[in-house]
């Protein structure tokens, strides 16, 4: 029992302790929740409170605090506005072990009716707790010009200023006096052609706010030639009691190329107010008009080339003593303020005693304060054409001075040259007593041109591509091949008796048979006909059998032919033809023309078959 009592007592102590701990934990949770709830802020702000019907405004709902991630405010019913766009951004920070989220929801509102309008309270539900913003009054003018923008005051206590602070919603951007604006300025609005106009464009940012990803777009400067001038550093500037950071975007020296009214277009600055680029903004400067006057005609010098500014000249030569045929390089330097690039080639004066070759020029721009200027160097290569003391110059450059509105001429001192032909080298001929002068080159010049022509050859046409040239080179090769074959034939005929017999036998046989035919046609005696026929047959048979023609007869030849394997019918025909031709020579019975024609035909057939036969 005691034990139980003690046990109970212990258990009651533990239970109490547990209850106390639980209560403490609950209190801690409740406290931390209360702290968390207490840290949530929900604010509404507009970028302007006075707009026209043609204008638009931005309503920004800012939510910050712990546990607000994913919370989305409910926009109230807007009776006097329509929502034209929506953007959101989120920033998460981790400070002293606590996670804090900053959400911004931006709504672009377009007024739908004029008058005093109210943007009702927006609501936000965080963990069952509903937060509301304060209503905002906005005055919507009937239309026309926009009133000067005033930086709208945040509906809640303003955010801490500083460069790292995000730009608050509700700011005026595109006109002077807003949170961010771009201002373009020129030093003068009326200039002469080619006179400098200094264009200065700077972005102004309320020093309390920051931007990111700022991108500046240069304005259109059609009709001007522009040169960059050094930009000053960003500086603080106070306008209408507001401290701005002036960020120079562009500073240029512009030179109008033609007279008339020229416009410098609007320049644009794009930037965002958050890291995620969800809130891209754009502000622009106002276009500027410049009146460009033409250069006066009165008093314009003859050699004026369009240079405007203030210039002066210096001229120097790399040598002043030289010989004819040698060249001298004259350097003329133009320095001053103005568009140095348009400074034209200075006049060298009378160049009758010089020959001028091509000139070179180079330029280097520089700035004197806000004035563009520089140096332009001209180099002339000159060759004196006659000896003597030659003066060059004065070198002059005519320009228009816009400050005095008059034409002026810059001059460089004349330069004197001592030009010689070399020392006289005379010697006396000891024999004749005549004085001889060495022939000296007065001037080194190029050789004269080629004379007139009645025809001009096309030297550029290459020879080896002409078909005739190739053919002319091929033909001798073919001729050589032919001659080689001919020579080989000749040598074989001379050295090979069998070949000679065969070759000549065929030729003689053909010739004898031709004679026999002639005898027949011309009606000569049968004896002559058969003699020619017999000769032809014996020549051919002899050539085929490598026998002398005298050894061929109707009695012996058939045996020889058979021994060589000749066809029996051929042997019989050859024997018959030989026998007939031999008999015909001595017997008049064969003198009939018909018989002779038959004998000739038979002999031709024999010759033809013998030439084909392999004997």
């Amino acid at each position: 029992m005691h034990g139980q009592s003690r046990g109970f007592s212990r258990g009651g102590t533990c239970a109490r302790l547990g209850r106390r701990l639980a209560a403490l934990a609950l209190a801690l949770v409740a406290f931390s929740a209360a702290v968390a709830v207490a840290q949530v802020t929900f604010e509404a702000a507009v970028d302007r409170t006075q707009v026209t019907m043609n204008d638009q405004l931005t309503l920004t709902l800012s939510v910050s605090g712990a546990g607000v991630r994913g919370a989305e405010p409910q926009l109230p019913s807007l009776s006097g506005f329509s929502v034209a766009g929506r953007a959101s951004s989120q920033q998460i920070s981790f400070v002293n072990g606590r996670v804090s989220t900053n959400l911004q929801y931006s709504y672009t509102l377009v007024p739908t009716r004029a008058g005093k309008q109210a943007i009702p309270a927006a609501t936000l539900n965080v963990n069952g707790q509903v937060y509301r913003t304060k209503p905002i009054a906005v005055t919507v003018a009937g239309g026309g010009t926009t009133q000067p923008r005033q930086p709208a005051q945040p509906s809640q206590p303003s955010q801490p200023a500083g460069p790292a602070a995000p730009m608050p919603p509700g700011h005026s951007e595109d006109t002077e006096g807003g949170y961010v604006f771009v201002k373009a300025a020129v030093d003068k609005t009326q200039v002469y052609v080619n006179e400098q106009v200094t264009l200065d464009i700077a972005a102004h940012r309320d020093s309390r706010f920051a931007w990111s990803r700022a991108q500046f777009s240069q304005p259109e400067t059609t009709g001007f030639v522009g040169y960059d001038l050094p930009k000053p550093d960003p500086a603080a500037e106070t306008l209408n009691g507001v401290e701005y950071v002036r960020v120079p975007c562009m500073r240029q020296a512009l030179f109008p190329a033609a007279a008339g009214k020229l416009t410098i277009g609007a320049s644009t600055l794009q930037f965002t107010t958050d890291f995620f680029n969800a809130d891209a903004r754009q502000v622009s400067s106002k276009p500027l008009t410049i009146t460009v006057l033409p250069l006066p005609e009165a008093g314009k010098p003859a050699g004026f080339g369009g240079a405007v500014g203030q210039f002066h000249l210096e001229a120097s030569a790399d040598k002043t003593a030289l010989q004819t045929g040698q060249t001298v390089t004259l350097k003329v330097t133009v320095t001053g303020t103005g568009n140095i690039a348009t400074a034209t080639e200075p006049s060298l004066g009378d160049l009758a005693k010089f020959k001028q070759f091509n000139s070179n020029q180079s330029e280097q721009t520089s700035t004197q304060g806000l004035k563009l200027g520089g140096t332009k160097e001209f180099e002339f290569v000159l060759m004196p054409v006659e000896p003597g003391r030659l003066a060059l110059g004065p070198v002059t450059l005519a320009y228009f001075d816009p400050t005095t509105k008059t034409y002026c001429t810059a001059k460089a001192e004349p330069i004197a040259f001592e030009v010689t032909q070399g020392a006289a080298d005379q010697s006396v001929d000891s024999v004749t007593g005549f004085t001889k002068d060495e022939i000296r080159l007065l001037k080194k010049d190029i050789n004269y041109i080629r004379p007139d022509a009645k025809r001009l050859a096309d030297d550029g046409r290459v020879l080896y591509r002409r078909p005739g040239f190739l053919l002319l080179n091929l033909l001798p090769l073919l001729g050589l091949g032919g001659a080689s074959l001919y020579r080989r034939q000749q040598l074989r005929l001379a050295n090979d008796a069998e070949y000679q017999r065969k070759r000549r036998g065929r030729e003689t046989a053909a010739k004898s048979l031709g004679e026999a035919e002639q005898c027949l046609r011309r009606g000569r005696s049968a004896a002559e006909f058969y003699a020619a026929l017999s000769k032809g047959l014996r020549e051919l048979v002899g050539a085929r059998l490598n026998l002398p023609p005298s050894a061929v007869s109707a009695d012996t030849t058939p045996t020889e032919l058979r021994a060589r394997g000749a066809d029996a019918a051929l042997v019989a025909r050859v024997e018959a033809s030989l026998r007939q031709s031999e008999l015909g020579r001595f017997t008049p019975s064969g003198g009939e023309p018909t018989a002779m024609e038959q004998a000739l035909a038979a002999a031709r057939q024999c010759v033809s078959e013998l030439e084909r036969a392999e004997v």
Binding site: N358, N360, A453, L456, D458, L478, A483
Partner: protein, 266 residues
């Protein structure tokens, strides 16, 4: 009988072809009358000191496909007198391709080169390659082709004679001469091939702009490396778009715009 007729016909055909070949190989095709008139007009204008007009006339003559060394020479003179050194050098260089040993031309080219502003030091070259290149630069392609062709024709004639000569000594002498001549012909043909290859590979270019900025890369954004001036002859080693990589000397290379130069080879 029939073979004799054939041989007769063949020999007539060969004779006809030979005549046609010789006709087509006549020294050079003459330019049109308009080209000749423009050339002579240019000469008159030159004599009267109207060098710019003379340039126009000679250029017109060249447009008529009259690629005559005389026209290029006179054009170079007209440009020189008009003060355009770059184009004068270009015209002289083009004339030099056609008549590489013309003393007047070489003297004028030298005179024009003296007036150019750029002095480029080339490393001295020696050896067989340099000698061969120098030798080849003194002869034109047509001259080499003609010499090689004549040597070849002489070789064929020697072989032809040797075929029909009976004496052993004479035949041996002719054979030796044919071998020597054959080697000479092969050398000539080889030289012609080298010359053609060299001409094909040659990308000599003349700077026409008074001052051309040579940059380290083929865009305007690259830094200037050096400057070249009118009349300087450089070699193009690479082309990218409108940019040419030029080599003034082995250690002096860079990129410049094509419109600042013009190639000698057309």
């Amino acid at each position: 009988m029939r073979s004799a007729e054939c041989a007769n016909g063949l020999s007539r055909l060969l004779l006809l072809v030979s005549v046609a070949a010789v006709w087509s190989c006549r020294p050079a095709q003459a330019a049109s009358k308009e080209a000749v008139d423009a050339y002579n007009l240019g000469n008159r204008q030159y004599k009267n000191g109207k060098y710019e007009d003379a340039v126009g006339s000679y250029e017109k003559c060249l447009k008529q496909h009259a690629r005559s060394a005389a026209v290029y020479y006179n054009l170079g003179n007209a440009y020189f007198q008009a003060g355009d050194l770059g184009r004068a050098v270009l015209a002289y260089e083009r004339a030099k391709v056609l008549t590489p040993r013309d003393p007047d031309l070489l003297q004028n080219l030298h005179q024009a080169s003296l007036l150019t502003r750029d002095e480029i030091e080339l490393p001295p070259r020696s050896g067989l390659g340099a000698a061969l290149e120098l030798g080849l630069s003194r002869v034109s392609v047509n001259e080499l082709a003609l010499v090689a062709s004549l040597g070849y024709l002489l070789l064929v004639t020697l072989l032809f004679v040797r075929l029909f000569v009976e004496g052993a000594v004479v035949r041996r002498a002719l054979g030796t001469a044919a071998i020597v001549l054959g080697i000479a012909v092969c050398t000539g043909v080889g030289a012609l091939g080298l010359k053609l290859q060299h001409r094909h590979a040659d990308r000599s270019t003349v700077v026409l702009a008074d001052e051309a900025i040579v940059r380290s890369g083929p865009t305007q954004n690259f830094d200037p490396v050096f400057k070249l001036h009118a009349g300087t002859v450089v070699s193009v080693v690479e082309t990218r778009g409108v940019w040419e990589r030029v080599e003034a000397s082995p250690k002096l290379t860079g990129w410049l715009r094509r419109d600042a130069v013009e190639s000698v080879r057309q």
